[in-house]
Symmetry: none
Subunit: 222 residues, 2 copies
Amino acid sequence: MRILLVEDEIDMATALTAALSRHDVVVDHARTLEIAEEACRSGVHDAVLLDRKLPDGDGLSLIPFLRRERAGLPIIVLSALGSPEHRVAGLDNGADDYLAKPFSTDELLARLRAVMRRPAQIGQNTVNVGHLRFNLTERQAEVEGEPLDLPRRELLALEILVRRAGRTVSRTALEEAVYGYDDEIASNSLDAHISRLRRKLSGSGVEIHAIRGLGYLLRAAA
Amino acid sequence: MRILLVEDEIDMATALTAALSRHDVVVDHARTLEIAEEACRSGVHDAVLLDRKLPDGDGLSLIPFLRRERAGLPIIVLSALGSPEHRVAGLDNGADDYLAKPFSTDELLARLRAVMRRPAQIGQNTVNVGHLRFNLTERQAEVEGEPLDLPRRELLALEILVRRAGRTVSRTALEEAVYGYDDEIASNSLDAHISRLRRKLSGSGVEIHAIRGLGYLLRAAA
DNA sequence: CGGCACGCAATGCAGCCGCAATGTCTGTCG
DNA sequence: CGACAGACATTGCGGCTGCATTGCGTGCCG
Protein backbone atom coordinates (compact mmCIF):
# COMPACT_ATOMS: atom_id res chain seq x y z
CA MET A 1 0.00 0.00 0.00
CA ARG A 2 1.31 3.41 -0.96
CA ILE A 3 -0.32 6.61 0.16
CA LEU A 4 0.12 10.31 -0.37
CA LEU A 5 0.34 12.39 2.80
CA VAL A 6 -0.44 16.07 2.33
CA GLU A 7 0.73 17.85 5.48
CA ASP A 8 2.81 20.92 6.12
CA GLU A 9 3.86 20.41 9.74
CA ILE A 10 7.10 18.50 9.61
CA ASP A 11 6.78 16.90 13.02
CA MET A 12 3.35 15.58 12.28
CA ALA A 13 4.45 14.30 8.91
CA THR A 14 7.51 12.47 10.13
CA ALA A 15 5.61 10.93 13.03
CA LEU A 16 2.86 9.72 10.74
CA THR A 17 5.30 8.45 8.17
CA ALA A 18 7.13 6.47 10.82
CA ALA A 19 3.93 5.03 12.24
CA LEU A 20 2.56 4.03 8.89
CA SER A 21 5.87 2.60 7.74
CA ARG A 22 5.77 0.20 10.65
CA HIS A 23 2.62 -1.22 9.06
CA ASP A 24 4.13 -1.62 5.63
CA VAL A 25 2.58 1.49 4.21
CA VAL A 26 4.76 3.47 1.87
CA VAL A 27 4.29 7.18 2.41
CA ASP A 28 4.95 9.97 -0.05
CA HIS A 29 4.97 13.35 1.58
CA ALA A 30 3.74 16.60 0.03
CA ARG A 31 3.96 19.86 1.97
CA THR A 32 1.74 21.98 -0.23
CA LEU A 33 -1.29 21.66 -2.48
CA GLU A 34 0.86 22.33 -5.47
CA ILE A 35 3.30 19.57 -4.67
CA ALA A 36 0.41 17.27 -3.88
CA GLU A 37 -1.15 17.85 -7.28
CA GLU A 38 2.11 17.06 -8.92
CA ALA A 39 2.64 13.94 -6.84
CA CYS A 40 -0.87 12.73 -7.53
CA ARG A 41 -0.35 12.82 -11.26
CA SER A 42 1.96 9.88 -11.03
CA GLY A 43 -1.11 7.82 -10.20
CA VAL A 44 0.75 5.40 -7.99
CA HIS A 45 -1.11 6.07 -4.76
CA ASP A 46 -3.79 3.96 -3.20
CA ALA A 47 -5.12 6.67 -0.92
CA VAL A 48 -4.61 10.26 0.16
CA LEU A 49 -4.31 11.64 3.69
CA LEU A 50 -5.15 15.30 3.56
CA ASP A 51 -4.47 18.05 6.05
CA ARG A 52 -6.58 21.19 5.86
CA LYS A 53 -4.42 24.12 6.91
CA LEU A 54 -1.76 24.26 4.25
CA PRO A 55 0.51 27.11 3.18
CA ASP A 56 -1.25 27.56 -0.13
CA GLY A 57 -4.86 26.96 0.91
CA ASP A 58 -7.43 24.64 2.43
CA GLY A 59 -6.74 20.98 1.78
CA LEU A 60 -10.37 20.49 0.85
CA SER A 61 -9.81 22.49 -2.30
CA LEU A 62 -7.63 19.66 -3.55
CA ILE A 63 -10.46 17.16 -3.52
CA PRO A 64 -12.18 18.16 -6.77
CA PHE A 65 -8.86 17.87 -8.53
CA LEU A 66 -8.25 14.46 -7.05
CA ARG A 67 -11.70 13.30 -8.04
CA ARG A 68 -11.20 14.47 -11.57
CA GLU A 69 -7.78 12.92 -11.80
CA ARG A 70 -8.45 9.67 -10.03
CA ALA A 71 -12.13 9.09 -9.40
CA GLY A 72 -12.57 6.62 -6.59
CA LEU A 73 -9.27 7.35 -4.94
CA PRO A 74 -9.88 7.13 -1.19
CA ILE A 75 -9.40 10.44 0.60
CA ILE A 76 -9.20 10.83 4.36
CA VAL A 77 -9.03 14.32 5.79
CA LEU A 78 -6.86 14.76 8.87
CA SER A 79 -7.42 18.04 10.59
CA ALA A 80 -7.25 19.88 13.87
CA LEU A 81 -10.53 21.43 12.85
CA GLY A 82 -12.72 18.87 14.54
CA SER A 83 -16.11 20.44 15.13
CA PRO A 84 -19.15 18.77 13.61
CA GLU A 85 -19.42 21.67 11.16
CA HIS A 86 -15.87 21.14 10.01
CA ARG A 87 -16.43 17.44 9.64
CA VAL A 88 -19.58 17.95 7.60
CA ALA A 89 -17.74 20.42 5.41
CA GLY A 90 -14.97 17.95 4.78
CA LEU A 91 -17.25 15.04 4.00
CA ASP A 92 -19.58 17.07 1.82
CA ASN A 93 -16.65 18.36 -0.14
CA GLY A 94 -16.05 14.81 -1.22
CA ALA A 95 -13.80 13.26 1.39
CA ASP A 96 -14.42 9.63 2.24
CA ASP A 97 -13.61 10.05 5.90
CA TYR A 98 -12.68 12.79 8.32
CA LEU A 99 -10.46 12.23 11.31
CA ALA A 100 -9.88 15.00 13.84
CA LYS A 101 -6.47 15.48 15.38
CA PRO A 102 -5.32 14.17 17.68
CA PHE A 103 -6.16 10.62 16.72
CA SER A 104 -4.72 7.20 17.37
CA THR A 105 -2.58 5.69 14.67
CA ASP A 106 -4.49 2.47 15.02
CA GLU A 107 -7.72 4.19 14.22
CA LEU A 108 -6.20 5.88 11.22
CA LEU A 109 -4.98 2.54 9.96
CA ALA A 110 -8.35 0.95 10.54
CA ARG A 111 -10.08 3.75 8.68
CA LEU A 112 -7.58 3.40 5.86
CA ARG A 113 -8.35 -0.27 5.64
CA ALA A 114 -12.09 0.41 5.75
CA VAL A 115 -11.90 2.91 2.97
CA MET A 116 -9.60 0.76 0.86
CA ARG A 117 -11.63 -2.40 0.92
CA ARG A 118 -14.61 -0.98 -0.91
CA PRO A 119 -15.12 -2.35 -4.37
CA ALA A 120 -11.80 -1.29 -5.73
CA GLN A 121 -11.94 -1.42 -9.41
CA ILE A 122 -14.89 0.77 -10.06
CA GLY A 123 -14.03 4.15 -11.43
CA GLN A 124 -10.70 2.61 -12.15
CA ASN A 125 -10.35 1.64 -15.74
CA THR A 126 -9.09 -1.88 -15.54
CA VAL A 127 -11.06 -4.98 -14.77
CA ASN A 128 -9.71 -8.28 -13.51
CA VAL A 129 -11.43 -11.59 -14.03
CA GLY A 130 -9.56 -14.77 -13.35
CA HIS A 131 -6.07 -14.22 -14.69
CA LEU A 132 -7.35 -11.86 -17.30
CA ARG A 133 -6.83 -8.14 -16.95
CA PHE A 134 -8.59 -5.80 -19.29
CA ASN A 135 -7.65 -2.16 -19.51
CA LEU A 136 -10.77 -0.33 -20.63
CA THR A 137 -9.17 2.94 -21.61
CA GLU A 138 -6.45 1.41 -23.70
CA ARG A 139 -8.66 -1.47 -24.80
CA GLN A 140 -5.92 -3.89 -24.03
CA ALA A 141 -6.20 -7.38 -22.65
CA GLU A 142 -3.49 -9.29 -20.89
CA VAL A 143 -3.23 -12.69 -19.26
CA GLU A 144 -0.87 -12.93 -16.32
CA GLY A 145 1.05 -9.90 -17.53
CA GLU A 146 1.32 -11.31 -21.03
CA PRO A 147 -0.41 -8.94 -23.46
CA LEU A 148 -3.06 -10.62 -25.55
CA ASP A 149 -3.38 -9.30 -29.09
CA LEU A 150 -6.88 -9.68 -30.39
CA PRO A 151 -8.43 -8.71 -33.70
CA ARG A 152 -10.93 -5.88 -33.62
CA ARG A 153 -14.19 -7.80 -33.45
CA GLU A 154 -12.97 -10.18 -30.82
CA LEU A 155 -11.64 -7.31 -28.78
CA LEU A 156 -14.96 -5.50 -28.92
CA ALA A 157 -16.80 -8.62 -27.91
CA LEU A 158 -14.43 -9.26 -25.04
CA GLU A 159 -14.69 -5.66 -23.91
CA ILE A 160 -18.42 -5.70 -23.41
CA LEU A 161 -18.31 -9.15 -21.86
CA VAL A 162 -15.68 -7.97 -19.41
CA ARG A 163 -17.53 -4.76 -18.61
CA ARG A 164 -20.45 -6.85 -17.56
CA ALA A 165 -18.51 -9.76 -16.17
CA GLY A 166 -20.68 -12.10 -14.17
CA ARG A 167 -23.81 -10.87 -15.87
CA THR A 168 -25.42 -12.13 -19.01
CA VAL A 169 -25.06 -9.98 -22.09
CA SER A 170 -27.83 -10.33 -24.60
CA ARG A 171 -26.97 -11.40 -28.07
CA THR A 172 -28.30 -8.18 -29.53
CA ALA A 173 -26.22 -6.08 -27.15
CA LEU A 174 -23.17 -7.98 -28.25
CA GLU A 175 -24.01 -7.55 -31.91
CA GLU A 176 -24.51 -3.87 -31.40
CA ALA A 177 -21.16 -3.54 -29.67
CA VAL A 178 -19.27 -5.63 -32.18
CA TYR A 179 -20.82 -4.54 -35.44
CA GLY A 180 -22.23 -1.13 -34.62
CA TYR A 181 -25.62 -0.03 -35.79
CA ASP A 182 -24.90 0.32 -39.48
CA ASP A 183 -24.18 -3.11 -40.82
CA GLU A 184 -26.40 -5.84 -39.62
CA ILE A 185 -25.04 -9.30 -39.81
CA ALA A 186 -27.18 -12.12 -41.07
CA SER A 187 -25.28 -15.12 -39.95
CA ASN A 188 -23.67 -16.76 -36.99
CA SER A 189 -20.37 -15.00 -37.35
CA LEU A 190 -20.75 -13.66 -33.84
CA ASP A 191 -20.66 -17.25 -32.65
CA ALA A 192 -17.51 -17.71 -34.61
CA HIS A 193 -15.84 -14.80 -32.84
CA ILE A 194 -16.91 -16.14 -29.50
CA SER A 195 -15.52 -19.49 -30.43
CA ARG A 196 -12.13 -18.04 -31.31
CA LEU A 197 -12.15 -15.92 -28.18
CA ARG A 198 -12.77 -18.98 -26.10
CA ARG A 199 -9.84 -20.74 -27.60
CA LYS A 200 -7.53 -17.78 -26.99
CA LEU A 201 -8.78 -17.44 -23.43
CA SER A 202 -8.31 -21.06 -22.56
CA GLY A 203 -6.07 -21.26 -19.55
CA SER A 204 -6.74 -17.70 -18.46
CA GLY A 205 -9.12 -18.73 -15.72
CA VAL A 206 -12.01 -17.19 -17.60
CA GLU A 207 -15.01 -18.86 -19.13
CA ILE A 208 -17.57 -17.63 -21.61
CA HIS A 209 -20.87 -19.35 -21.01
CA ALA A 210 -23.73 -19.40 -23.43
CA ILE A 211 -27.07 -18.89 -21.73
CA ARG A 212 -29.40 -20.47 -24.16
CA GLY A 213 -31.95 -17.99 -25.40
CA LEU A 214 -30.55 -15.14 -23.33
CA GLY A 215 -27.00 -14.43 -24.39
CA TYR A 216 -23.47 -14.89 -23.17
CA LEU A 217 -21.84 -14.55 -19.79
CA LEU A 218 -18.19 -14.19 -18.87
CA ARG A 219 -16.97 -15.25 -15.47
CA ALA A 220 -14.00 -16.62 -13.61
CA ALA A 221 -13.64 -20.35 -14.09
CA ALA A 222 -14.84 -22.58 -11.29
CA MET B 1 -33.01 6.85 0.56
CA ARG B 2 -34.13 4.09 2.87
CA ILE B 3 -32.02 2.84 5.74
CA LEU B 4 -32.22 0.17 8.38
CA LEU B 5 -31.65 1.37 11.94
CA VAL B 6 -30.62 -1.34 14.37
CA GLU B 7 -31.00 0.10 17.85
CA ASP B 8 -32.65 -1.12 21.02
CA GLU B 9 -33.04 2.11 22.98
CA ILE B 10 -36.41 3.46 22.03
CA ASP B 11 -35.61 7.09 22.77
CA MET B 12 -32.51 7.04 20.64
CA ALA B 13 -34.34 5.31 17.84
CA THR B 14 -37.28 7.69 17.73
CA ALA B 15 -35.03 10.73 17.91
CA LEU B 16 -32.88 9.45 15.08
CA THR B 17 -35.86 8.45 13.00
CA ALA B 18 -37.33 11.90 13.40
CA ALA B 19 -34.08 13.62 12.53
CA LEU B 20 -33.46 11.50 9.48
CA SER B 21 -37.04 11.79 8.30
CA ARG B 22 -36.61 15.54 8.14
CA HIS B 23 -33.99 14.91 5.49
CA ASP B 24 -36.15 12.59 3.43
CA VAL B 25 -34.59 9.43 4.71
CA VAL B 26 -36.99 6.58 5.26
CA VAL B 27 -36.07 4.65 8.39
CA ASP B 28 -36.92 1.05 9.21
CA HIS B 29 -36.29 0.23 12.80
CA ALA B 30 -35.10 -3.11 14.18
CA ARG B 31 -34.63 -3.59 17.92
CA THR B 32 -32.66 -6.82 17.84
CA LEU B 33 -30.16 -8.63 15.68
CA GLU B 34 -32.75 -11.20 14.82
CA ILE B 35 -35.26 -8.66 13.60
CA ALA B 36 -32.51 -6.86 11.73
CA GLU B 37 -31.53 -10.02 9.87
CA GLU B 38 -35.10 -10.55 8.84
CA ALA B 39 -35.56 -6.94 7.76
CA CYS B 40 -32.37 -7.02 5.75
CA ARG B 41 -33.53 -9.95 3.69
CA SER B 42 -36.04 -7.79 1.92
CA GLY B 43 -33.10 -6.08 0.25
CA VAL B 44 -34.75 -2.67 0.12
CA HIS B 45 -32.26 -0.73 2.22
CA ASP B 46 -29.54 1.57 1.00
CA ALA B 47 -27.53 1.55 4.21
CA VAL B 48 -27.48 0.21 7.77
CA LEU B 49 -26.98 2.12 11.02
CA LEU B 50 -25.86 -0.33 13.62
CA ASP B 51 -25.80 -0.03 17.39
CA ARG B 52 -23.48 -2.32 19.31
CA LYS B 53 -25.12 -3.12 22.61
CA LEU B 54 -28.20 -5.05 21.61
CA PRO B 55 -30.36 -7.45 23.63
CA ASP B 56 -29.20 -10.46 21.66
CA GLY B 57 -25.55 -9.61 21.16
CA ASP B 58 -22.97 -7.21 19.78
CA GLY B 59 -24.11 -5.38 16.68
CA LEU B 60 -20.76 -6.11 15.06
CA SER B 61 -21.72 -9.76 14.82
CA LEU B 62 -24.34 -8.79 12.29
CA ILE B 63 -21.80 -7.43 9.82
CA PRO B 64 -20.62 -10.74 8.34
CA PHE B 65 -24.22 -11.64 7.71
CA LEU B 66 -24.88 -8.31 6.03
CA ARG B 67 -21.79 -8.66 3.89
CA ARG B 68 -22.83 -12.10 2.79
CA GLU B 69 -26.36 -11.01 2.08
CA ARG B 70 -25.67 -7.68 0.45
CA ALA B 71 -22.05 -7.13 -0.39
CA GLY B 72 -21.32 -3.45 -0.65
CA LEU B 73 -24.17 -2.33 1.56
CA PRO B 74 -22.88 0.67 3.52
CA ILE B 75 -22.70 0.02 7.25
CA ILE B 76 -22.15 2.72 9.85
CA VAL B 77 -21.72 1.66 13.46
CA LEU B 78 -23.22 4.00 16.06
CA SER B 79 -22.05 3.24 19.54
CA ALA B 80 -21.44 4.67 22.97
CA LEU B 81 -18.26 2.59 22.93
CA GLY B 82 -16.04 5.28 21.55
CA SER B 83 -12.47 4.48 22.47
CA PRO B 84 -9.96 4.07 19.67
CA GLU B 85 -9.87 0.34 20.41
CA HIS B 86 -13.61 0.11 19.97
CA ARG B 87 -13.47 2.07 16.76
CA VAL B 88 -10.73 -0.12 15.36
CA ALA B 89 -12.71 -3.20 16.30
CA GLY B 90 -15.77 -1.90 14.51
CA LEU B 91 -13.95 -0.90 11.36
CA ASP B 92 -11.90 -4.06 11.19
CA ASN B 93 -15.02 -6.12 11.57
CA GLY B 94 -16.13 -4.71 8.28
CA ALA B 95 -17.99 -1.50 9.07
CA ASP B 96 -17.56 1.36 6.63
CA ASP B 97 -17.61 4.01 9.32
CA TYR B 98 -17.81 4.27 13.09
CA LEU B 99 -19.48 7.14 14.87
CA ALA B 100 -19.31 7.43 18.64
CA LYS B 101 -22.33 8.62 20.61
CA PRO B 102 -23.13 11.34 21.18
CA PHE B 103 -22.81 12.71 17.67
CA SER B 104 -24.40 15.50 15.70
CA THR B 105 -27.15 14.55 13.30
CA ASP B 106 -25.53 16.66 10.66
CA GLU B 107 -22.35 14.67 10.90
CA LEU B 108 -24.26 11.41 10.69
CA LEU B 109 -26.00 12.63 7.57
CA ALA B 110 -22.72 13.78 6.06
CA ARG B 111 -21.14 10.41 6.79
CA LEU B 112 -24.14 8.68 5.30
CA ARG B 113 -23.77 10.71 2.16
CA ALA B 114 -20.03 10.04 2.06
CA VAL B 115 -20.52 6.34 2.40
CA MET B 116 -23.36 6.24 -0.11
CA ARG B 117 -21.59 8.04 -2.90
CA ARG B 118 -19.03 5.32 -3.09
CA PRO B 119 -19.12 3.36 -6.31
CA ALA B 120 -22.82 3.57 -6.84
CA GLN B 121 -23.90 0.36 -5.25
CA ILE B 122 -24.08 -1.69 -8.33
CA GLY B 123 -27.77 -1.36 -9.11
CA GLN B 124 -28.40 -3.83 -6.32
CA ASN B 125 -31.99 -4.46 -7.07
CA THR B 126 -31.90 -7.82 -5.45
CA VAL B 127 -34.22 -9.94 -3.38
CA ASN B 128 -33.15 -12.50 -0.81
CA VAL B 129 -35.19 -15.48 0.25
CA GLY B 130 -33.56 -18.17 2.33
CA HIS B 131 -30.11 -18.66 0.85
CA LEU B 132 -31.33 -17.66 -2.55
CA ARG B 133 -30.44 -14.28 -3.93
CA PHE B 134 -32.12 -13.07 -7.04
CA ASN B 135 -30.83 -10.01 -8.86
CA LEU B 136 -33.83 -8.53 -10.62
CA THR B 137 -31.97 -6.17 -12.90
CA GLU B 138 -29.57 -8.80 -14.14
CA ARG B 139 -32.08 -11.61 -13.93
CA GLN B 140 -29.56 -13.74 -12.18
CA ALA B 141 -30.04 -16.19 -9.36
CA GLU B 142 -27.41 -17.40 -6.94
CA VAL B 143 -27.38 -19.67 -3.92
CA GLU B 144 -24.88 -18.79 -1.20
CA GLY B 145 -22.78 -16.87 -3.67
CA GLU B 146 -22.75 -19.73 -6.15
CA PRO B 147 -24.41 -18.61 -9.39
CA LEU B 148 -27.34 -20.74 -10.42
CA ASP B 149 -27.69 -21.21 -14.15
CA LEU B 150 -31.27 -21.72 -15.14
CA PRO B 151 -32.87 -22.19 -18.54
CA ARG B 152 -35.11 -19.44 -19.79
CA ARG B 153 -38.50 -20.71 -18.77
CA GLU B 154 -37.40 -21.75 -15.33
CA LEU B 155 -35.70 -18.40 -14.83
CA LEU B 156 -38.83 -16.52 -15.80
CA ALA B 157 -40.92 -18.61 -13.47
CA LEU B 158 -38.51 -18.11 -10.61
CA GLU B 159 -38.37 -14.39 -11.26
CA ILE B 160 -42.06 -13.81 -10.82
CA LEU B 161 -42.21 -16.15 -7.84
CA VAL B 162 -39.39 -14.26 -6.18
CA ARG B 163 -40.90 -10.88 -6.97
CA ARG B 164 -43.95 -11.99 -5.08
CA ALA B 165 -42.20 -14.08 -2.49
CA GLY B 166 -44.52 -14.96 0.37
CA ARG B 167 -47.61 -14.34 -1.72
CA THR B 168 -49.40 -16.77 -3.98
CA VAL B 169 -49.01 -16.30 -7.69
CA SER B 170 -51.92 -17.45 -9.79
CA ARG B 171 -51.34 -20.09 -12.37
CA THR B 172 -52.39 -17.79 -15.20
CA ALA B 173 -50.02 -15.06 -14.04
CA LEU B 174 -47.20 -17.58 -14.11
CA GLU B 175 -48.15 -18.80 -17.55
CA GLU B 176 -48.25 -15.27 -18.84
CA ALA B 177 -44.81 -14.54 -17.43
CA VAL B 178 -43.27 -17.75 -18.66
CA TYR B 179 -44.82 -18.14 -22.08
CA GLY B 180 -45.77 -14.61 -22.97
CA TYR B 181 -49.02 -13.78 -24.61
CA ASP B 182 -48.40 -15.32 -28.01
CA ASP B 183 -48.19 -19.04 -27.60
CA GLU B 184 -50.61 -20.64 -25.27
CA ILE B 185 -49.64 -23.95 -23.86
CA ALA B 186 -52.10 -26.78 -23.66
CA SER B 187 -50.47 -29.12 -21.24
CA ASN B 188 -48.94 -29.33 -17.81
CA SER B 189 -45.50 -28.24 -18.91
CA LEU B 190 -45.62 -25.41 -16.41
CA ASP B 191 -45.82 -28.01 -13.67
CA ALA B 192 -42.82 -29.65 -15.20
CA HIS B 193 -40.82 -26.43 -14.99
CA ILE B 194 -41.84 -25.94 -11.40
CA SER B 195 -40.78 -29.47 -10.67
CA ARG B 196 -37.33 -28.95 -12.15
CA LEU B 197 -37.00 -25.65 -10.34
CA ARG B 198 -37.78 -27.31 -7.07
CA ARG B 199 -35.08 -29.86 -7.62
CA LYS B 200 -32.51 -27.21 -8.45
CA LEU B 201 -33.53 -25.18 -5.43
CA SER B 202 -33.31 -28.04 -3.01
CA GLY B 203 -30.92 -27.07 -0.25
CA SER B 204 -31.28 -23.36 -0.92
CA GLY B 205 -33.62 -22.80 2.00
CA VAL B 206 -36.44 -21.99 -0.36
CA GLU B 207 -39.66 -23.86 -0.96
CA ILE B 208 -42.23 -23.60 -3.70
CA HIS B 209 -45.64 -24.53 -2.36
CA ALA B 210 -48.61 -25.34 -4.47
CA ILE B 211 -51.79 -23.73 -3.20
CA ARG B 212 -54.40 -26.00 -4.52
CA GLY B 213 -56.73 -24.21 -6.89
CA LEU B 214 -55.01 -20.86 -6.46
CA GLY B 215 -51.47 -21.10 -7.69
CA TYR B 216 -47.94 -21.28 -6.34
CA LEU B 217 -46.10 -19.60 -3.50
CA LEU B 218 -42.40 -19.24 -2.85
CA ARG B 219 -41.03 -18.72 0.63
CA ALA B 220 -38.13 -19.47 2.92
CA ALA B 221 -38.11 -23.02 4.20
CA ALA B 222 -39.20 -23.64 7.76
C1' DC C 1 1.71 -11.47 -53.22
C1' DG C 2 1.27 -13.28 -48.53
C1' DG C 3 -0.99 -12.93 -44.25
C1' DC C 4 -4.65 -11.78 -41.46
C1' DA C 5 -9.38 -10.67 -40.35
C1' DC C 6 -13.87 -11.78 -40.94
C1' DG C 7 -18.29 -12.98 -43.10
C1' DC C 8 -20.54 -17.04 -44.36
C1' DA C 9 -22.35 -21.63 -44.67
C1' DA C 10 -22.34 -26.58 -43.43
C1' DT C 11 -22.31 -29.90 -40.11
C1' DG C 12 -22.67 -31.71 -35.61
C1' DC C 13 -24.42 -31.66 -31.17
C1' DA C 14 -26.52 -30.63 -26.70
C1' DG C 15 -30.09 -29.36 -23.99
C1' DC C 16 -34.52 -27.12 -23.51
C1' DC C 17 -39.09 -27.84 -23.48
C1' DG C 18 -43.57 -29.57 -24.84
C1' DC C 19 -46.02 -33.58 -24.13
C1' DA C 20 -48.04 -37.51 -22.24
C1' DA C 21 -48.07 -41.32 -19.03
C1' DT C 22 -48.19 -42.44 -14.49
C1' DG C 23 -48.09 -41.59 -9.51
C1' DT C 24 -49.70 -39.07 -5.30
C1' DC C 25 -52.59 -36.32 -2.61
C1' DT C 26 -56.74 -33.97 -1.13
C1' DG C 27 -61.33 -32.83 -0.84
C1' DT C 28 -66.11 -34.22 -1.77
C1' DC C 29 -70.03 -36.93 -2.07
C1' DG C 30 -72.69 -40.95 -1.71
C1' DC D 1 -65.90 -44.52 5.68
C1' DG D 2 -64.72 -45.70 1.03
C1' DA D 3 -64.48 -44.34 -3.60
C1' DC D 4 -63.98 -41.23 -7.06
C1' DA D 5 -62.56 -37.00 -9.28
C1' DG D 6 -59.80 -33.35 -9.83
C1' DA D 7 -55.43 -31.05 -9.11
C1' DC D 8 -50.70 -31.28 -8.69
C1' DA D 9 -45.94 -34.03 -9.04
C1' DT D 10 -42.66 -36.45 -11.40
C1' DT D 11 -40.31 -38.59 -15.03
C1' DG D 12 -38.89 -40.15 -19.74
C1' DC D 13 -39.02 -39.36 -24.50
C1' DG D 14 -38.25 -36.96 -28.73
C1' DG D 15 -38.20 -33.13 -31.71
C1' DC D 16 -36.43 -28.98 -32.66
C1' DT D 17 -34.05 -24.94 -31.81
C1' DG D 18 -29.95 -22.60 -31.02
C1' DC D 19 -25.07 -22.89 -30.13
C1' DA D 20 -20.12 -24.75 -31.43
C1' DT D 21 -16.86 -25.58 -34.51
C1' DT D 22 -14.50 -25.73 -38.70
C1' DG D 23 -13.16 -24.65 -43.32
C1' DC D 24 -13.43 -21.71 -47.19
C1' DG D 25 -13.41 -17.47 -49.83
C1' DT D 26 -12.99 -12.63 -50.13
C1' DG D 27 -11.10 -8.23 -49.18
C1' DC D 28 -7.89 -5.31 -46.92
C1' DC D 29 -3.28 -4.14 -45.70
C1' DG D 30 1.47 -4.20 -45.72
